[in-house]
């Protein structure tokens, strides 16, 4: 028989406000196995924990029930307390009487009654608890970073600087991501390339970092510390280790009419290309959809001009298998499609552009060499209208945009407006806003400068429609403060399109078994306390794959993710979750049902000799669970017809006891 201590927490008034904690403690005293029961204001405080330790010694407790907040909050805390008192940490059970009782039931008698029942269920379970010891598994001291934008670059550099090898997988031919496409960065107006490209070079030269560009993750197996990843390296038809990046092929390629994705299709590139001058790795890539040689075997000019002999038309996709201890997701974002916003005439006029396109138009390496010219006729625009919140903050019923605020648009729009006025003072710049959101260091000052120093016309209101007429864009908008409808003849309209997670994130999340929210942003293990970890152990989050972020935030999160990875890789062994499945060999039929439902391949079979009830011996096939691989889902326990398979910590008996306690 267990000697159980019950500790009822007040959580200040959080629990005590709607649950009579003394009554709960009193009622649970009568439960079988309970030898001690008490209440206290804050069980998780040092004093509360000391009291638990003291009680364990004084009453020779073998099990503990804490009636408090959710086990997701403090289960680990109280397990440590138990361990410090010399108990097995798995002899602790939590009755969640805060989140699932006091916070949702407002009447004292109801809350108290339910709290007692939840307490009884926990006592019933502890009565059947057995001490558990976690197994250990080795850690592969190598990290994988998926995505080579500023988030992935920073994470990789930080991990590599700590001495651990890192691989970056980037689906584009070069790392750099969105930041490489930007012109200047707010609020300091540093040139994006000037601060990014040195980091790209650092990555390329770092002896601990390998870059798999033009590659994707195609399969992930394993678990924290021991991931088995398959990386698909797309054929780029150029030998990466031979190409010198001289660019002769790019110059000579006769197929020069391919929309240039780096400049968002605002100009063209050849079929063989290097995305931009500072690309890393600086190697050419052949676009198989455009190359005449690959499509119909006619041309081969690039191979002829390549003095290094790097061109290889027969190159195949390559699959690389590697083991990793940790995986960082840094898949980034994209602006949403403007197809559903007909009112802004994005698809009708070339002169209605998104903000990212505007970045390229003002970038010295962009299609206009940095001169702000209209895409339609190359003329200088004199009136520019910026529209904020295009597709952000939309109602979900509207099914057009996103419900969330994209966070970065207010600031980059202020930047665009300011830079335009600075370079071209003859330009009238209007910004239509719903709210200007500038929380951040030097952010509001930056926005105020745009208004006060640069005379940007900030108008509270929204653009209703844009109509191309002749070479003008008729903009109809409301000015809510002066209660007028405005009609502006604009030369250029810039839409601050909402941002969304990259499309590759969803299938990746499935491979990683990492959870996502409804917007396809990865969810954190805890929104406040564990913001860079995914709930899936060993998977970390960096940058906008977790939510909209600007560059400084992305970089700090990237560093935080790196430090978490370093913390993991610094360990030689990982303690596993002891709540894993185990098979009772005496009862096992060896039928393979469990093996078929196990998502981790943790179950194998062996032939063993058994003594049968009639004193003969027989060889039987029985299941064996690898505790390092088992993650403890319990699918096998239900598939097992004989009940030989059970889950430690959540045994059939324990759950039944909880059911019985609740239904009593």
């Amino acid at each position: 028989m267990q000697r159980i201590g019950v500790f009822v927490c007040w959580c200040g008034s959080n629990i005590a406000g709607t649950v009579d904690v003394k009554a709960v403690a009193e009622a649970l005293k009568a439960e079988p196995g309970v030898v001690f029961s008490t209440d206290y204001q804050y069980m998780c405080s040092q004093a509360g924990q000391d009291m638990i330790k003291e009680s364990v010694r004084e009453h020779k407790l073998t099990g503990i029930v804490i009636c408090s907040c959710s086990p997701r909050m403090h289960e680990a805390t109280f397990r440590k307390t138990a361990a410090a008192a010399g108990l097995n940490p798995y002899m602790v059970e939590i009755a969640n009487i805060r989140e699932q009782c006091s916070w949702v039931h407002k009447e004292m008698p109801i809350g108290t009654e339910k709290a007692i029942i939840l307490g009884k269920a926990a006592v019933a379970k502890v009565n059947l608890n057995t001490p558990l010891t976690p197994g250990e598994s080795p850690v592969t001291k190598r990290a994988l970073v998926i995505g080579g934008g500023i988030a992935g670059i920073q994470t990789a550099l930080d991990i590599a600087d700590a001495g651990f090898p890192v691989d970056i997988v980037e689906k584009k031919p070069t790392i750099g991501g969105k930041m490489a496409q930007l012109d200047k960065t707010f609020p300091t107006l540093d040139c994006a390339a000037c601060i990014l490209t040195p980091k790209m070079v650092d990555v390329a030269q770092h002896e601990k970092i390998r870059i798999f560009s033009y590659s994707e993750v195609s399969e992930v197996k394993g678990f924290v510390g021991n991931f088995d990843v398959t990386i698909k390296k797309h054929a780029r038809y150029v030998k990466e280790d031979v190409c010198t990046g001289c660019g002769a092929c790019v110059e000579k390629c006769p197929m020069k009419k391919v929309p240039n994705e780096f400049n968002l299709g605002m100009d063209n590139r050849p079929a063989i290309y290097i995305p931009f001058a500072q690309a890393v790795p600086k190697v050419a890539t052949i676009d198989p959809n455009a190359c005449n040689m690959l499509k119909n075997g006619k041309c081969g000019l690039c191979a002829r001009v390549c003095t290094a002999g790097a061109i290889d038309y027969k190159q195949q996709d390559e699959y690389i298998q590697e083991k990793y201890g940790a995986i960082v997701v840094a898949t980034g974002f994209n602006p949403i499609s403007m197809d559903k916003f007909d009112e802004f005439a994005y698809n009708q006029s070339k002169d209605v552009i998104t903000s990212l396109e505007f970045e390229r138009l003002t970038n010295a390496a962009g299609p206009t060499a940095g001169k702000l010219l209209r895409p339609s006729d190359g003329k200088h625009p004199h009136t520019i209208v910026f529209v904020q919140c295009v597709g952000s903050r939309c109602d979900s019923c509207a099914q057009k945009g996103k419900e969330y605020c994209s966070k970065i648009c207010c600031m980059y729009t202020a930047k665009h407006a300011m830079l335009t006025r600075d370079k071209y003072p003859d330009t009238e710049v209007y910004v239509f806003y719903i709210d200007v959101r500038t929380p951040g260091k030097s952010f509001d000052e930056f926005y105020r400068r745009a208004v006060e120093e640069y005379d940007v016309h900030y108008i509270k209101g929204m653009v209703g429609k844009v109509t191309p007429q002749g070479d003008k864009l008729k903009v109809q908008a409301s000015d809510l403060l002066s209660n007028k409808q405005l009609h502006i003849d604009a030369d250029l309209v810039v839409l601050a399109a909402a941002i969304e997670p990259d499309k590759s994130a969803r299938p990746l999340a499935t491979m990683l078994t990492a959870s996502m929210d409804t917007n396809d942003f990865f969810t954190e293990a805890h929104p406040k306390l564990r913001p860079v970890e995914s709930p899936t152990a060993g998977v970390f989050l960096s940058g906008t794959c977790q939510g909209p972020k600007d560059i400084p935030e992305t970089v700090s999160q990237a560093g935080a993710a790196a430090s978490k990875v370093i913390g993991l890789l610094a360990k030689d062994k990982l303690k596993g979750n002891p709540c894993v499945a185990h098979s009772n060999e005496q009862m096992c039929n060896g039928c393979s049902s469990c093996e078929r439902v196990c998502p981790y391949g943790a179950i194998t079979y062996e032939d063993k000799e058994f003594r049968m009830p009639d004193r003969t011996t027989a060889i039987r096939r029985v299941a064996a669970v690898n505790p390092a691989v088992c993650q403890g889902c319990g699918a096998c326990t239900v598939a097992c017809p004989s009940g030989a398979m059970d889950l430690r910590g959540f045994m059939n008996e324990q759950i039944m006891a909880e059911v019985d306690a609740i239904c009593k």
């Binding site: 959710s70 989140e99 009782c101 109801i110 809350g111 959870s515 319990g634 598939a639 059939n652 759950i655």
Partner: protein, 144 residues
């Protein structure tokens, strides 16, 4: 004479990763639902053996609801897909035996869906309450 109001007894099995967290979120946001709902935490909805459900009914539960991650979002990749098949078959069998099909339910509640958790539990409790006491499955020995 005053008739005592019928309060259904509802057992909710919630997976640790999504639905239990969803229930916690409902608590964080103070979204009320009937106190008759008692939650049992399981690592994954696929840990729920039909025997647990029958046991609950046997011991006098009036409704049993099972909550897990949305299909495709299972923390263990595929657990809830097995749950979906098993429970579809089990519920169909209970219905075949003439047990009210409204007494059993499976809902997918993510960690972000505190409001859904509260709404689902409120709705399920109301449905079960309307059905009245579970007479067809209870074990009469276990009633007080």
């Amino acid at each position: 004479m005053q008739v005592k109001e019928f309060k259904p007894l509802i057992v909710a099995f919630c997976c640790n990763w999504c639905s239990y967290a969803g229930a916690d979120l409902a608590g964080n946001n103070r979204l009320n639902y009937p106190a008759e709902v008692k939650i049992i935490r399981v690592p994954c909805s696929c840990r729920v053996n039909p025997m647990f459900i029958l046991r609950a009914f046997q011991r006098g539960a009036d409704g049993v609801i099972l909550c897990g991650c949305h299909p495709g979002d299972c923390h263990y990749t595929s657990g809830n897909y097995y749950t979906r098949r098993r429970m579809a078959m089990l519920f169909s069998m209970l219905d075949f035996l003439g047990i009210e099909r409204e007494r059993t339910r499976v809902e997918w509640v993510s960690a972000a869906e505190g409001a859904k958790f509260s709404a689902v539990m409120t709705d399920f409790a109301a449905t079960v309450k309307a059905l009245g006491e579970n007479k067809r499955l209870e074990d009469l020995r276990c009633k007080k």
